[in-house]
């Protein structure tokens, strides 16, 4: 009599996989990155609450403010960040299926999208300066610069972690059997995207 055995999950990148998702009922990546993610989201939550209060006190500034901003730049940045999140998700899919080369290529795509974000943001700040919009112009622009520059810093160092993940794949540290560190990096990157999903409508769309 023969027996059939199938290995079921990668549990956060430890073990052998036959089905998705690896993180079934588990903490994706590791606990430490989630402490970081919740700390960052709390920081952004404080910004959003300050935005509500400032908007209530200076409604005219918050009504006129978004009209002068470069909506195209904001939209392109949203496209870049969402696409980069998609590329990272694809990279996770590839590494699980033992395709490290493809995974690294998707991560390069995500990194390029992150760099595109930084380039667009630089262009946008230059555009603002040309229009005479500075961080001390009024309360709206103070918050605008505070939120977007803070977010830009997050994109900057999260891009560094993507570069690290590519390096680890090349060194065969992240493999189909072991990629919990890469999952942690992916979760952090998605958090940066999530913060922008709220920032974009607050600053560019809602009046």
């Amino acid at each position: 009599m023969s027996t059939v055995t199938t290995e079921v999950f990668y549990l956060n990148g430890r073990g052998a996989v036959a089905q998705e998702p690896e993180s079934l009922k588990r903490i994706p990546g590791n606990r430490a990155v989630w402490v970081g993610i919740f700390a960052e989201l709390t920081e952004f939550a404080m910004f959003f609450i300050i935005y509500f209060i400032a908007k209530a006190h200076y409604p005219q500034e918050f009504d006129q403010g978004p009209l002068k901003l470069n909506t195209l730049a904001g939209t392109l940045n949203t496209v870049a960040l969402i696409s980069s999140s998609y590329f990272v998700a694809k990279a996770m899919f590839a590494i699980r299926n033992d395709r490290p080369q493809a995974s690294a290529r998707w991560l390069w795509g995500a990194l390029l999208a992150g760099l595109a974000y930084l380039a667009i943001k630089t262009w946008e700040y230059q555009w603002n300066v040309d229009l005479g919009i500075h961080s001390d112009t009024n309360s709206f622009y103070t918050l605008y610069y505070y939120m977007t520059f803070n977010h830009l810093l997050h994109v900057g160092w999260a891009s560094g972690t993507l570069l690290w993940a590519i390096y680890q794949i090349k060194k065969q540290v992240y493999t189909a059997e072991n990629h919990s560190g890469m999952m942690a990096i992916a979760c952090y990157w998605h958090m940066v995207d999530l913060a922008w999903i709220i920032i974009f409508p607050l600053l560019y769309v809602l009046r």
Binding site: T3, V4, T6, E20, S23, P28, T71, T78, F93, L202
Partner: protein, 116 residues
């Protein structure tokens, strides 16, 4: 279990795995497509619509929906640890609601936060 039954079971397991992988491709691609469309609609609203409570409501819905898509599909929290999933999802319930309420009760917020 006979050999032929074992072969069938293995073939079925492989099929299930392949189907699951294919679905995952579709799910990720579809998620990206939807997020793009919603983002472009948001941009259209920013360029054309005048401020209105209904517009704020629709934008808040779009924030909640986009957040949920990223959390469930890109971040893969759909089947993950329940505490983390609940916290992440609730962030994208609470803030859209707060954005809407802040618009509705702006006078009260200003009064409440004024230091006299």
């Amino acid at each position: 279990m006979s050999d032929s039954q074992a072969d069938k079971a293995i073939a079925q397991a492989v099929n299930t795995q392949e189907n699951s992988q294919r679905k995952r491709w579709h799910k990720l691609d579809l998620t990206w497509g939807i997020l793009m469309v919603v983002t472009l609609l948001n941009a259209l609203v920013a360029e054309t619509a005048d401020p209105h409570l209904l517009i704020t409501f629709v934008i808040c819905l779009s924030i909640a929906y986009k957040g949920r898509l990223v959390i469930d599909n890109f971040m893969e929290l759909y089947n993950a640890n329940q505490t983390i999933r609940s916290f992440m999802r609730s962030y994208f319930y609470v803030f859209p609601v707060l954005i809407f309420l802040a618009d509705v009760f702006s006078a009260q917020i200003a009064w409440f936060t004024t230091i006299s």
